[in-house]
Amino acid sequence: MRKLTHFLLKRSGSLLLLAVLLVALSQLGQGLWIFAKAKLAQYLIAESWQISLALKQPSKPWAWADTWPVARLQWPAENVDLYVLAGAHGSSLAFGPGHLQQTSLPGSEQDLGAIISGHRDTHFKFLSKIKPGHRIKIQTMDGVWHDYLITTSRIDNIKQQTLQALPGLQLVTCYPFDALQAGGDLRYIVRAEKMTKLQTFASL
């Protein structure tokens, strides 16, 4: 026992260093793991989306998944290509942007307004670059691509405003984009309206 105390006292500097080192590595690991999950999961989801398209029914990307792809979102101008998952809970947002299930799906017959949310530092980072007039595309499970035109953006304070389904599509992410910590009160919301076939044709 005395030996041990002696050892600890003598080596306290090294041990402290070791502890700091371990914490540092675990933090780095966590951070990298988040990015890796966000990136890698999309490859697995891509496969299940192809199955969904073929079978016209939801298909889980891995057996124990509690979510599945419901749409594919592309911003061709910036090579953004994402698979949107069902539900906007933490366990789906880790792997892809999530569709808020209380709202209708993009491209559904009655446009009650779709809302899709994504992490500001992974999938929805591109929202910081998007501007009115830009065009995005969404593919639904029936294989049809729908064109959306970005119209406006706004910043909501979740303590003061209410999130509402509005006609068209809303993409929601956290704001500011460069904040270090998660859990802020601000959300950046980009609105897009569905282009009619004629509009799409005219813009080609």
Binding site: L93, D156, Q161, R187
Partner: protein
């Protein structure tokens, strides 16, 4: 001899060594250095990345300016942002017996430097008779005139254009109204005083008479089905031969299927002050306002009630209940108002009370109960919990002889069982599972589930009863009433309204067309009581085919023309215009009532009651003429839904409304100031006053959309730096010790 190869440096004390040795670093130190450099690179990248992130340009197309946290609502207009109109509502209620006279003042305050037009959509109870409007500017009162709707709109538009202050009150639905106020100057305010009469509701619950008055304050945003317009036109053309029907209603709806009413906003807290003076005319056993905090004073034979802190938020219906002491419970009432050589009367008669203890006197025929439960988005939150609790309680109340089924709907619908099944334990537990798993979301497509419940024939030997649990947040009411009317057959439809601000017009009328009755659940704690009341009604004999014989010497115009079936606890209420054929002003006589019901043993029975009118009746009651007019209008509008020709109905409604000075679908109040106030050079900005979000309604939660990744990386990199720095420091110290 000195042997070079025997020279062993480690045997010589370090400080005596002359040569500069370069000890090779251990492998792990090399690795550390490598990681460290990598991390510095990563940190650099992260910082560069952050710098890029900062360059987001937020100047374009913002819907809200960045003044978050200031608490004022700013609205965007063509000229930029304007501070929103403030709205204060003051309600004064005088209740005499079964009639409430209400004065409601809406004050529109303009805090901005612009000229504003305020538009405010507000609810009133569906039986309300609005009979007066006055625009108040400072000390001046400009009395509004009742006009045909189109004409009133023209007058208002002209005044608005000319820069004159003007107010227009219109009816959008029987329980939904719109106030417009034009040319509110900078930093000025305009008040609009509305006067209306509202009948007091009476019902017997467990043998105790309960009076109640409900004052709605905000609106659950209603859902307009996208396919509505096409369907509605078809229905109308087929039924009446004319394509007009409800076209106005169709046009009112937003073509994109957005809510008809501007969506309530979370942070709007329209304050409301309220004062009630109650003259019940009977000694009271209890008086309470269950959904608000209030102060009650008793002064002589009247009670005075006001809100606890003077004001409250307009986010839920206000309701007042009072119960007379048991032995004083009224069996009948006859209130009279003399107006311009005419007498108007309110007749109330309590139906018989059938034994309801130990099931004696109750209907024994087996029932087929179809529950329809609304799981649309507007039900989210407290409403869905209450609806589920109500339905689960109802399932518990089923008896073994009953059959049942559950239909759940939002944008689509699904039935639990393909056809009604026996209320066996297995089936009930499946039903409970089904109910537990319901989640609110999606639109409110009511027509198909209603038809699915009403259309199939009941199993032979069973009575079919449909229980419809919803908040009624729809705007295609007329279409639904028509569908209920046309498919009802032998079935009966009972509605259960859920939530803090249900569309009670829809709920009450749907029950009327469904020949059933209406119940409302506002608080979770009421579920038990209200569901048992509903089941009491479902299983008690119904008074049908009610006939009223008025005294022979009177000429009577009574509304409603066909008295609806009465369920247990529901009183008969009829409004009549009376005149003596001999012009002798003598109303004394007997009113005889007759009705049929099926007794517990299945026999057809007859019920009689006679109300004797005294010679000297007080005739100074107020508001009864207005209520008579309102009832007549409501009855005429019902006839239209049942297929009467719209143009004829319109003429008849116009006649009553103009004569009785009542707001209706075809008449509006308009008040205009003579002198213009807005200089022609100034623009007028239109603003919609937002309604408060309904209490307890779930909003879509903002998702959490940030990861801790960046924080993890930076923290990790910093700590790593720190530890490596420590390591190097330690090494350096060691070396210095070596050389010293």
């Amino acid at each position: 001899m000195f042997k070079f190869n025997t020279f062993k440096p480690h045997k010589i004390p370090k400080h005596l060594l002359m040569q500069n040795d370069k000890p090779s670093r251990p492998w792990w130190q090399k690795l550390m250095l490598f990681i460290f450099l990598g991390l510095v690179l990563l940190l650099g990248l992260a910082i560069a990345d952050m710098a890029r992130g900062e360059s987001v340009d937020l100047e374009w197309g913002r819907e809200y300016p960045a003044q978050l946290g200031s608490g004022t609502l700013l609205l965007k207009s063509s000229r930029g942002y304007a501070q929103a109109l403030h709205l204060n509502t003051d309600i004064k209620v005088k209740i005499n017996g079964m009639v409430a006279e209400v004065t409601m003042i809406q004050e529109f305050k303009n805090p901005s430097e612009d000229y504003l037009e305020g538009v405010y959509t507000f609810p009133l109870q569906e039986k309300t008779a609005v009979n007066g409007m006055t625009m108040i500017i400072g000390e001046r009162r400009i009395v509004g005139k009742i006009k045909e709707k189109k004409e009133a709109q023209k007058i208002y538009q002209a005044a608005k254009k000319a820069g004159k202050r003007a107010a227009l009150t219109q009816q959008q639905r029987p329980n939904l109204f719109q106030q417009k106020v034009a040319n509110i100057g900078p930093q000025q305010s305009i008040s609009v005083e509305l006067r209306y009469i509202q009948p007091v509701q009476l019902q017997l619950a467990n043998g105790v008479a309960q009076f109640s008055l409900r004052i709605p304050t905000t609106i659950t945003p209603r859902y307009t089905p996208a396919t509505f317009s096409a369907e509605a036109r078809e229905v109308n053309v087929a039924a009446s031969g004319w394509g007009q029907g409800d076209v106005a209603e169709v046009q009112a709806a937003d073509p994109r299927g957005a809510p008809l009413i501007n969506t309530p906003v979370n942070n709007v807290k329209n304050p409301m002050s309220l004062a009630i003076r109650l003259r019940a005319g009977l000694p009271l056993a209890s008086l309470q306002a269950p959904y608000h905090k209030t102060v009650i004073d008793k002064r002589g034979d009247q009670h005075e009630l006001s809100l606890l802190n003077g004001v409250d938020v307009m986010n839920r219906d206000f309701e007042l209940h009072w119960q007379p002491v048991a032995e004083q419970a009224p069996q009948a009432a006859f209130f009279l108002q003399s107006q311009q050589q005419q007498d108007f009367a309110l007749l109330m008669v309590q139906p018989p009370q059938f034994e309801d203890t130990e099931g004696k006197g109750l209907q024994q025929l087996p029932r087929e109960l179809i529950f329809i439960i609304d799981s649309s988005g507007s039900m989210g939150g407290e409403s869905m919990r209450q609806a589920k609790a109500g339905l689960l309680r109802a399932l518990d109340s089923l008896s073994a002889n009953d059959r049942f089924n559950i239909i759940e709907f939002d944008s689509t619908f699904q039935q639990l069982f393909a056809r009604p099944v026996a209320a066996s334990e297995v089936n009930l537990s499946r039903a409970q599972d089904f109910v537990q798993r319901l989640v609110a979301g999606g639109g409110t497509q009511m027509l198909k589930p209603l038809l699915a419940a009403l259309t199939p024939q009941a199993s032979p030997g069973y009575i079919k009863q449909v229980v419809f649990i919803t908040d009624g947040a729809v705007s295609n009411e007329a279409q639904l009433f028509k569908a209920i009317h046309e498919t009802l057959g032998q079935a009966r439809l009972f509605t259960v309204a859920i939530g803090s601000a249900p569309n009670s017009f829809f709920m009450r009328k749907a029950a009327q067309y469904g020949r059933g009755s209406y119940t409302s659940i506002t608080l979770a704690s009421e579920v038990e009581e209200k569901v048992s009341l509903l089941f009491q009604r479902l299983s008690s004999p119904v008074l049908s085919n009610i006939r009223i014989q008025w005294p022979q010497h009177l000429e009577v115009e009574a509304w409603p023309q066909r008295v609806p079936d009465l369920y247990a606890g529901e009183p008969l209420v009829v409004y009549a215009k009376l005149s003596d054929k001999n012009a002798s002003q003598n109303l004394a006589g007997e009113i005889k009532l007759e009705a049929d019901y099926i007794s517990a043993t299945g026999e057809r029975q007859r019920w009689y009651k006679t109300v004797v009118l005294a010679k000297q009746l007080r005739s100074d009651n107020r508001g009864i003429a207005s209520l008579w007019g309102r009832e007549k209008i409501a009855d005429l509008m019902d006839q239209k839904i049942r297929g009467a020709k719209a143009s004829i109905i319109r003429e008849q409604v116009l006649a009553v409304a103009l004569q009785q000075q009542l707001l209706s679908k075809y008449t509006s109040f308009v008040a205009v100031e003579e002198e213009p106030t807005r200089p022609q050079a100034k623009v007028l900005i239109k603003q919609q006053v937002a309604n408060s979000a309904v209490k307890g309604q779930q909003r879509i939660a903002y998702p959490a959309t940030a990861t801790s990744a960046r924080w993890n990386l930076i923290l990790g990199a910093t700590l790593l730096l720190l530890s490596l720095l420590g390591l190097f420091l330690k090494q350096a110290l060691k070396r210095r010790y070596c050389y010293a």
